[in-house]
Amino acid sequence: MTDMGVNPAGKGFNLAVNLGGLKMKNPVTTASGTFGFGPEYAPYIDLNRLGAITVKGTTLEPRRGNPTPRIAETPAGMLNCIGLQNPGVSHFIEKDLPYLREYDVPVIVNIAGSSLEEYEKLAGRLSQAAGVSALEVNISCPNVKQGGMVFGTSCAMASDVIKAVRRSTGLPVIAKLSPNVTDIVEIAKGVADAGADAIALINTLLGMKIDIQSRKPVLGNIMGGLSGPAIRPVAVRMVWQAARAVKLPILGMGGIMTADDALEFILAGATAVAIGTANFVNPGATMDILEGIGQYMKKYHVRDINDLVGAAWK
């Protein structure tokens, strides 16, 4: 621990974790697509205090995304169909990465492709760029026509994507899985065998909403991904299953709003947690959660956060 301010539990308590080779000073990162590229939240929190920053999904070419409305509120949750709008990997490397390099925080770049070749190229490009600490491979986005979820819902395809990325990078590879599958364990095992260093889950659950006045779907893209507290029990269950089935560390996410929620994921087997929708509700959510984890450790004399990982199995 280099900085007291970074460790909310204080001296003698360890919050540092190792996510498949990615060293994080604490287990709290941001969920891709909910935190922009970092500067958006810099007025609200000290980015240096994050365990890592996970940026918006990046593709080889710029993507314009889906038509509006792109968001709809649902019971204790929300649907989104942003459609991976992003300026493309070259823009990211030239314009966004230099900003992030100014901070003392690892950067996880979330990547998405519509072919194996694209994933491979993306991984290659980002591995050459200074300031990228890990790749989170999105094989699970429900909001893009080709690629996206089809990769994440078929075991063979998920493995192929991870193999392709693995071939082209020396960075830690985090496979981000779709919850829209019958058997998460099978996919988790598949990506583990394919060479992933860690597993992130869950991405959003495919859902939709209909306006009874207009009698039409609310979202511009008809369907969208459900996130927020509504999906938390599903996410906790999947983290539990995946963590027990494979040896890889897990980055858990899905509806984490508070430190209590984050601890639930850690107890289920997550080594680190990502905060998504909560940022929209409370721009200081990541810091509040980090603080709360520290307090819990102090209160229950947990010297090392790693002792809590999967503690609910016992």
Partner: protein, 272 residues
């Protein structure tokens, strides 16, 4: 830097059949607030309804260190807001967005507000007044009850014209019909500002493009973060350049929450 946190509700009064005026004491928020910016507020401290609601700054009172929000109850969130008590606290972020920008040469300004959309125009009207820039305000709504701030404008002695769909107040018809007269008048305005429903803005943009009148419009879009991170709130613009105006595919998305909500009228594309 925008403020984010709790602030005291000074008052929360019913000012129309579905309209409420909430004054929030927040010197931090007020300090940098400009006309046309908005606040992103939580309607509950529970997890449902989950998302914040964007509401424009209707009054910016630097002396008192407070802002007022004028809002119409249209659903669950705004209904919950209307139940908040004076003396209580509201979770508020702001000021957010870019705000209106009064151009150097503006001498004679036309203001067009539709329904509750007129709310963010009031701090602008006051600033124009303070800068002694001549202005005419046009307010439109379905019916008299939905016309906001008429008395306020009259008290300030600002030239105001009203249009209602049902003819219960002022001109019977659309506010854009009132606007047309001003826009086409050779001695008319040299700049305009507008906020209101999209059909109104679309019509106004069409009119002003024909006559070459420049201006700014404030847009609404469904929002998540309010800070430019989630890309939920985009609108189509001509920012990337347009070669063929018939080509519906030539547009560039901009974020309403950070690159707006105020846009140059010349650059926005509002689909039917």
């Amino acid at each position: 830097m925008p403020y984010s946190g709790l602030a005291e509700v000074v008052k929360n009064q019913k000012v129309g059949p579905e309209h409420f005026l909430m004054e929030v004491f927040s010197p931090e928020l007020v300090r940098e607030a400009k006309p046309g910016q908005f606040a992103h507020v939580r309607c509950t401290n529970q997890m449902d309804p989950l998302l914040r609601r964007p509401i424009s700054l209707h009054e910016i009172n630097h002396k008192k260190g407070s802002v007022s929000l004028l809002y119409q109850v249209v659903g669950r969130g705004t209904r919950l807001l209307s139940g908040m008590q004076a003396g209580g606290e509201i979770d508020i972020m702001g000021p957010l967005g870019n705000g209106f920008n009064i151009p150097e040469g503006a001498r004679k300004v036309l203001i067009v507000g539709g329904g509750i959309g007129a709310a963010p125009l009031f701090p602008l009207i006051i600033e124009l007044e303070e800068r002694h820039i001549e202005q005419t305000v046009l307010l439109g709504a379905r019916t008299t009850d939905d016309i906001i701030g008429y008395g306020h404008l009259a008290a300030l002695g600002i030239r105001t014209e009203v249009a209602t769909d049902d003819g219960s107040m002022g001109y019977k018809g659309f506010v854009t019909e009132l606007a047309e007269k001003h826009v086409k008048d050779p001695a008319g305005p040299d700049y305009f500002f507008a906020c209101g429903p999209n059909p109104m803005l679309r019509e106004l943009i069409k009119l002003t493009r024909v006559s070459g009148l420049q201006g700014q419009v404030s847009l609404e879009e469904y929002m998540g973060c309010g800070v430019g991170a989630c890309l939920a709130c985009v609108c189509k613009t001509t920012a990337g350049g347009v070669n063929d105006p018939e080509d519906k595919n030539e547009f560039e998305y901009k974020k309403v929450c950070t690159e707006g909500p105020v846009f140059d009228a010349g650059e926005v594309i509002l689909d039917d």
